[in-house]
Amino acid sequence: MGMVSEFVRALSVAQGHDYNNCMHELALAENIIEIVTRCAQHEGFTRVGRVRVRVGTLAVVIPEALQTAFAAAKRGSPAETAVLVLESEPGQAWCRDCAATVVMNDALDACPCCQGYALRITGGNALRVIDIDGE
């Protein structure tokens, strides 16, 4: 197996992803391109630059896979010149036992205060386009 496919395999396994049939980052990248295209038309941009996207650490997305998918999906679109810049946002959960909001950065994390698992995710699980540069 080549280095690249080995890497993809490791990435997939680490994420519990079946890379053979699961590429939803492509759907997400297409959504971002749609948002950028609409914005560019509305603003009269002939050239798009940086597109900033906030990725919650608890979002169901692998940043590297999103970046690769975006590079493939932007070709031939009005977002062709766009450069995707990803910023991470910490995850947040409500601990029922502590009755407090706590930081949660992995889906399997325990509550940092009580080490329990009575957690409900309250933030850091979304993917949002923050702003778009253009001219």
Partner: protein, 257 residues
């Protein structure tokens, strides 16, 4: 993490060793600053969520109970649906939306019971989205149904992120898959209200630890309901069918209120 290409948020390991991610090699150079910056603050899944909300309104107006069935391929979703329809069709009118990458075999298995079924083929798509479901709804007589079951594409990752407008997700885990599935795919088991532990008829032949599987599911989702069933033998179906009828009654009451 690297804010240019997003690499470095996850520690990727290969056989337990951290896989070095070369930064120098990433192809995304720092963009040059252009003249204007437009604030957007838009959810990337916003369009799907908006369509899901429309679907949900449509279901509520009909008092229709809609479930989104999620699992790995082969956990027994279609078998469960066929058995459920056979056992319940005298009391509840059940329709099915089948999602698979290819073929209409599963819709045909459902249609053989006499129930209404439509097939969505997603091609390379690894999940159903709200727009596909909206398209399928247009071909179904919703007012002639009490319960609509959506069998999602067999995949425990992406379907967790795409709301279809369902009342809730039901995750099916079969005992041939291993007790640790809920820990490997936490997003899905967290998103589900009910977990059906299927193929329990095979337990005598396996070394599957039911208590541990249940503990793993509750670790990622303390509120999840769990039932042990067999879609082939019908074991545990009384509880599952009761759950369905109660959920359906609750929808009806919600509509009347």
């Amino acid at each position: 993490m690297c804010t240019t290409c997003g690499c470095g948020t996850e520690t990727i390991t290969l056989d337990g060793k951290v896989l070095p991610l070369s930064h120098a090699g990433h192809p995304y150079s720092t963009p040059k600053k252009l003249t204007r910056r437009v604030q957007i603050e838009q959810d990337v899944l916003g369009e799907n969520d908006a369509q899901a909300a429309l679907n949900r309104q449509r279901f509520a107006a009909q008092g229709l109970l809609v479930l989104n069935l999620v699992s790995s391929p082969g956990s027994g979703k279609t078998t469960l649906l066929v058995k459920t329809i056979e056992r319940l069709s005298a009391r509840q009118r059940i329709g099915v939306i089948e999602g698979d990458q290819q073929t209409s075999r599963d819709a045909e298995r459902i249609q053989a019971t006499g129930a209404l079924a439509v097939q969505i083929n997603t091609g390379k798509g690894c999940h159903l989205d709200a727009r596909m479901v909206a398209g399928a709804l247009d071909t179904l007589p919703l007012d002639a149904l009490d319960i609509l079951m959506i069998e999602n594409v067999g995949n425990l990752v992406c379907p967790a992120a795409f709301d279809l407008g369902e009342a809730c997700k039901v995750a099916i885990l079969s005992v041939t898959e291993g007790e640790d599935k809920p820990l490997k795919y936490p997003d899905m088991f967290r998103a589900a209200r009910l977990m059906l532990l299927n193929k329990c008829d095979l337990l005598p032949h396996l070394e599957f630890d039911v208590a541990q599987a249940m503990a793993h599911a509750r670790r990622v989702n303390p509120d999840i309901e769990i039932m042990q069933i067999s879609a082939t033998s019908g074991v545990g179906f009384e509880q599952w069918l009761d759950w369905l009828e109660q959920a359906r009654a609750a929808r009806r009451a919600g509509q009347a209120a």
